[in-house]
Symmetry: C2
Subunit: 343 residues, 2 copies
Amino acid sequence: MKQAAKVMTLADIARLAGVSESTASRALRDNPVINAQTRQKVQQIAADHQFKVNATARSLRTQKSHTIAVIILFDAKTQQAISDPFLLDILGVIADELTAKGYDMLLSTSKTTDKDWRSYYFDSKRADGLIVIGQGEHDARVDQLAAAGVPFVVWGATTGTEPYPVIGSDNRQGAQQAVAHLVKQGCQRIAFLGDIRHTEIEMRYLGYQDALQAANIKAEPALQLNTDFTAQAGYLQTQQALFSQLSSLDGIFAASDAIAMGAMKALLEHGIKVPQQVAIVGFDDIAMSAYCTPSLTTVKQDTHAGGQLLVAQLLSRINGGKAASQLLPVKLVDRQSSLRNST
Amino acid sequence: MKQAAKVMTLADIARLAGVSESTASRALRDNPVINAQTRQKVQQIAADHQFKVNATARSLRTQKSHTIAVIILFDAKTQQAISDPFLLDILGVIADELTAKGYDMLLSTSKTTDKDWRSYYFDSKRADGLIVIGQGEHDARVDQLAAAGVPFVVWGATTGTEPYPVIGSDNRQGAQQAVAHLVKQGCQRIAFLGDIRHTEIEMRYLGYQDALQAANIKAEPALQLNTDFTAQAGYLQTQQALFSQLSSLDGIFAASDAIAMGAMKALLEHGIKVPQQVAIVGFDDIAMSAYCTPSLTTVKQDTHAGGQLLVAQLLSRINGGKAASQLLPVKLVDRQSSLRNST
DNA sequence: AAGCACACTGCAATCGATTGCAATAGATCA
DNA sequence: TGATCTATTGCAATCGATTGCAGTGTGCTT
């Protein structure tokens, strides 16, 4: 068998079928002006020879790459590789969704030090549009994208004033629910672990304040501790800040499940009972949250809807339509880490 | 400001600089035959106008995409989206590594039902090479790749006979260490949770048997339970199989940390003490393993070295060299879930 | 002064597919 | 029979950058 002869080109197929390249091209794309028989014959020959259209040539000619660049932003400080389980979740959904729509996905983990990805991905025609995940601390590059008219959507927090579409969870609502739940469990002094310099986390902090205010509890600024998204950060922050400075703490609201698990670990290690002495609620509902001990009460983000919406909005924008920002509802999931009067 | 005028092409830059396209092209690529002054001038003009080479046109002409497709294989059954934290880890490393080497990364999550990605990614010139993660249950498509002469590397388990390069952890060694450790802690009846139809897991099972044999313990086939990679699977399997059928179980070796955590949850819920009554060891050392309670003893895979090696081998292969299979050493990390005589 | 090497630069072909427009042939109509 | 359609097909330009090869001009050699 003459395995892997030589890569076939459209010209080869056309020659074999005894037609011109134009006809071959049209036949392969199911263009109806081509005679049905001719079309079939060409397609048959193409299939027999495993012919695949050269994506590069097509892109050049059609000026469409059929590729979306997904950019995961990082913190200037931590510079950690993708590792938040939540990111992976949404990434998976986006990947599936893009595939279903016939798009390829170019993945980039952008250290903040990188040069600008607008020109890299868009101007150079590598991608037809961008999905940016995690605004983080407000990134000027996102504004530039908008100004340059690049089709893109952002996963993150919306203030309602951004000149670009943002899809994200209703962080404030979710946090408010979470903290109200803690209050209902009898918590009076609740710490907030999360870096409010991230817009999303800032929203969660506002929700935290909303809930406290509604319960007539004064928010103590000292109870808000900037903490990175990792379990390690939650652990260390709890050890260092919470133990040394604060007593009578009876609740913790963490800005991510990872932070919450780290904090829980620190508490348990020191013999503090969860939830009896300190109740904990996280945010995200990653897969592991149901399986730690005690299992973690958390605010579930709808990653499935999020991913779908990101893709749908972006493609609509690319195809000449409009893309709108949208806030996704979240849902509190009660588990053991916060339930004091459970059965 | 006449923002975003029109996308510049090489021809535009050449005209502005008063040189031919050839000269402009050479100048931008720092070709030394071009006079230094000319080169500078062209580069200056290009920079002023934010000119970016059209990647598509370049690819077409040079026949190189400078893109690597990373394919994540899934189980025929579970069909779950990327979610194993371990995958995310290694994916992050690969992304960074490829970026550093000037390659783009096309990510694909391949459901087993998908058509073949050889033609899609390689024949169509979308990528110069492939990285396949997770052979899973031996996939015939991987063999086809090899037969077709496509440059690619696989992350997984090597039997030493594959006709393609495989990079992976020394699963057998790692498992052997883990189980030997359990035996040393006094365990006599140790369950194995993991799906041995996956080659990597099969290797871990062999290591498990090695350790038992070395300790003169007979391996009971009934103690091996096929379990998917998730915490949920570990939880359910433990509830359903281990509780109902087996008594006097005193150790569990799980094929992944997620499984281990699920199993641990099930045990703790039933009032079984870990590690006193049942000691547990996992595999991977994902970030969360250190922060669950009790923290999880596990076998650490060197994702960093793995990702680097995958990329290095693949690029070497693409550039005409050879790529070789390699087994990476692993390391047992002692934590609370298995230490019975700890301080 | 003629010959020649050297340093640049530009012409034109090329990568592979797509598409506007023209061309052909057979069919239909008056 | 001649004119007008209609259904198909092909010609040739085009997308934007790269590169082999030929061309030009300057300076140096003898």
